[in-house]
Symmetry: C2
Subunit: 535 residues, 2 copies
């Protein structure tokens, strides 16, 4: 007996008997399967297969584009990145015929950042010896490249192959985000960069960086360095320097991912107060200060002067046209206790209604941000208190069960606001078993409203709040659970209604994530031919 | 400004304002704190501190023992292992006075394996320049060494120190186990070895290796190599060779941890059937075999012949006097469908009561194991079906809520059986938030019974079943959640009733785990000065 002499199977599949039946793509010519995640909008795969080999493979620009694309470092670096993802084992595969992936784009936009208007549409046609990838923009080319990398498979003997394939693809929703919270726990830069890598594999395109909050202020401000030197968990080891932020921005841009920072105020700002005296509201016990502090003081002119200066800095650091201003969960009790705030309420004629005070504060902050040429995103609380918030403000829904968030979506879109759906995807909340199915079954447009209203839902966001999450468990909590929302937000809902049908494809995708070094947790008993190696 | 010039704080503490109040040890001489986990039985810490330095520190054997302990490789390797745990930063600390840890034992038992009779008692007295560690056995010395390593702390400037301390310590329960399931997902050897390391840090002393089950058979048998070559997920990459098993046994022994394997039968054996034809019961549909198989065939003599040969092998491979035979969750429907089994039932006079058939099977298997000089552990199902199971069989409770497992403990101990409590610590089940508190609040002896009955509860076990767990998420699911049971099973219950009081100590211990390279997840917002570095 020589069991070690048997060559190992190489297919990137997940197996446990009974072996899950493969997902069937649209069949042109006999039956075959695809494991692409998220599912492309239009997909036709034939049984015909073409061999590929790492020694006889090339990326090219379309003939008429070769010269003008010469300096497209964004795509060049994507080619470098994808080559080992397409060919994980460079020594495998017999060189047979040459194969090339030819990329053609309509716009040469290699040097910018993606934004809300960026087309991610692409077409991919795989035939003998050649695949043609066509897109409007570099961002679409990146998405097509990802799809191409997922189409390449390996035979048991190691030979790479790709099926004859025709794909036309584009996202159902423009905004497909993941929120990471770097305040409740500090996430080392590498954890953020690894997350961006895995996001690109699932075609997420927005990193919502909830960078500061009550527990700590890790952003190192150029204008107000005390904010992090006094408000971070540690002034050196637990901060993001300007150069760290630039690395995140660059890493994200190269993957077609927008970075939208959130500097949440007036609540969730305890850590701001450590480095910025006179910013927070002193709480009172009876007639004297208690020594504790509440939200940012909305009655003090100093607050608005500080916020103007601070927002001027951070809106210039983060290039995205969107900016998240927070505005959630403001506790009024400290404001109520403070005599200056009470006097201000009286002067403004707000009576005892502190929601008016919060609205007043947010309106000022939104105006500051607007003057800095940014579109504001705010949490739903701001709309709930103040329906007349400027129309171009995007509202981020985070509360409630389906009935509640659907009603909220109706109200907000009826008022003409663009809406971002967060509530169904708070996946920092965990439960035993296959809770990805709950995320998968969400129907973002299933609310009462007109066609015009439905168009106002710009997308959705997976939140990974940090109460119980840091670098030790971030990856396995996020992956593959976030993939469910990735498909819901990218793919055609009518083709992806069944979590049961998606299950084997998600298992196969999870195995791909492992092979790419993402610590993605298992979905059910079974194994991947390439298990996680990074223990 | 030069924020990077500030020296980093070095205390291995967890902090988030409001900073948790430190746990106060028993105070001799002023107030001080200890972060030892699990809490020693008797602990007196004084404010007096002594400096230590890695360049002036030594382990010694007691004077009269120096010659006879010369060849105790177990303790010598423990000294090597603990030195960098005591001094994580070898360049820190000013050499002041020399410090030695003097180890004295009553028995020289360096070459054996720990077992149910091994004393883990130790005394530790720390005074100026010297700590004296006294124990009956090497196993007690290992526990004392762990405690010593946790007592050494660092000042902000890096200086190591230890407080004047007197400890008398021993476990409340003899059996403190962790179950890993290597069948539902294969766990690479390194994941098992890392778990053993972390177990030693929490003073766990039994690794219950649920090595095979329905989904896969990764144990490579010498006698029946087909079991793994056909029943493992992969015949080479997803198996434990004999040499792998020996590495686990050695790694565990060096840390005072017993390895108790489980070869669960007659149910949970689907994977056995792939490499051992004629072992499982053919299920019938009407009058012909359906092609599927049920539990091991209890009506066939071949089953007992196979089990005798197989158990002869595995009881010799695993040295522990205990052996886990499983016996849980037997589904009777396949047996009922099989005409041979039905005929056997009739012949044996079992009527329609298939629990009698299962009892018959288990009785035979327990007898085989007994003749191989092993004490059997079985899951509670065996007792539930068959109260006259041999008295020296240990019963493992896994079912139900507190009211149920308490009643079961009463019944079993009343029948004179030793009991192992698993039910309250199935921590593969996860919930959002601080679910360690539930584990911590378990009271193993809080059931109705005499003092004699209470003595029959030998301990408890944390289970990490593998449906949704593999190397990607094992560590953060296990640590620090399993630490709650570790303290419940080691420490004096009357001193450790309050999870609230334990919380800051557990947070500090979790930071120590991170510093030692264990990917232990966070318990609440906050940070450790040494975060997990292994991203």
């Amino acid at each position: 007996r020589c069991p070690r002499c048997i060559p190992p199977p190489r297919r990137r599949t997940h197996s446990y008997s009974p072996r899950p039946s493969p997902f069937l793509g649209v069949v042109i010519n006999g039956v075959t399967s695809t494991d692409v995640w998220p599912l492309p909008q239009k997909l036709a795969i034939s049984e015909e297969r073409y061999p590929l080999s790492p020694t006889h493979f090339n990326f090219y620009y379309g003939e008429d584009q070769a010269s003008i694309m010469k300096d497209c470092s964004l795509l060049d670096s994507a080619f470098t990145r994808y080559f080992p993802l397409i060919f994980p084992d460079l020594t495998s595969g017999k060189p047979e015929k040459a194969f090339s992936l030819v990329v053609t784009m309509h716009q040469k936009d290699c040097d910018g950042y993606p934004n809300e208007g960026s087309s991610e549409r692409y077409q991919l046609n795989v035939s003998a010896g050649q695949a043609v990838l066509n897109s409007d923009t570099v961002w679409g080319a990146l998405r097509g490249l990802e799809t191409f990398s997922q189409l390449v498979q390996q035979e048991e003997d190691g030979t790479y192959f790709i099926n004859k394939t025709e794909i036309e693809d584009f996202p159902s929703f423009q905004y497909r985000g993941i929120l990471l919270d770097t305040s409740r726990h500090f996430l080392p830069l590498k954890a953020i960069l690894n997350t961006l890598d895995a996001m690109a594999y699932s075609k997420f395109n927005v990193f919502h960086w909830h960078i500061v909050d009550d527990p700590s202020f890790p952003y190192q401000s150029r204008t107000f360095p005390d904010l992090s030197s006094k408000g971070a968990y540690h002034p050196m080891s637990h901060i993001y320097t300007q150069s760290d932020v630039r690395r995140v921005l660059t890493h994200a841009r190269l993957r077609g991912i927008r970075v939208i920072p959130e500097f949440d105020s007036p609540g969730h700002t305890q850590s701001w107060g450590k480095g910025q005296p006179n910013l927070l509201t002193p709480c009172y016990k009876g007639s004297s200060p208690s020594g504790t502090f509440g939200p940012i003081n909305p009655a003090s002119a100093l607050s608005y002067i500080f916020m103007s200066q601070f927002l001027k800095e951070v809106t210039s650091v983060f290039p995205d046209p969107y900016f998240h201003l927070g505005g959630d969960e403001v506790n009024f009790s400290c404001w109520q206790s403070n005599p200056d705030v009470r006097a201000f309420m009286q002067k403004m004629g707000f009576g005892k209604d502190y929601t008016k005070l919060e609205s007043f504060y947010m309106e000022n902050i939104v105006n500051i941000t607007s003057n800095l040429n940014k579109t504001s995103i705010v949490w739903q609380d701001v709309f709930d208190y103040h329906e007349r918030i400027p129309k171009d403000t995007i509202l981020h829904i985070w509360k409630g069960l389906p009935a509640q968030y659907k009603a909220e979506t109706s109200r907000m879109t009826k008022a003409g606001h663009r809406v971002l759906l967060g509530a169904p995807w708070y996946i920092n909340h965990i439960a035993y078993g296959q809770d990805w199915r709950i995320s998968y079954n969400v129907q973002p447009l299933n609310f009462s409203g007109t066609e015009e209203q439905k168009k106002l839902v710009i997308g959705g966001e997976v939140s990974m709040w940090g109460e119980y999450v840091d670098a030790t468990n971030l990856s396995p909590r996020l992956w593959p659970r976030a993939c469910a929302a990735a498909e819901r937000l990218w793919s055609d809902e009518s083709q992806t209604r069944s979590a049961e049908a998606a299950f084997p494809r998600l298992q196969a995708f999870r195995c791909s994530l492992l092979r790419r070094g993402v610590r993605a947790e298992p979905l059910s008993p079974g194994h991947c031919s390439d298990e996680y190696r990074g223990i």
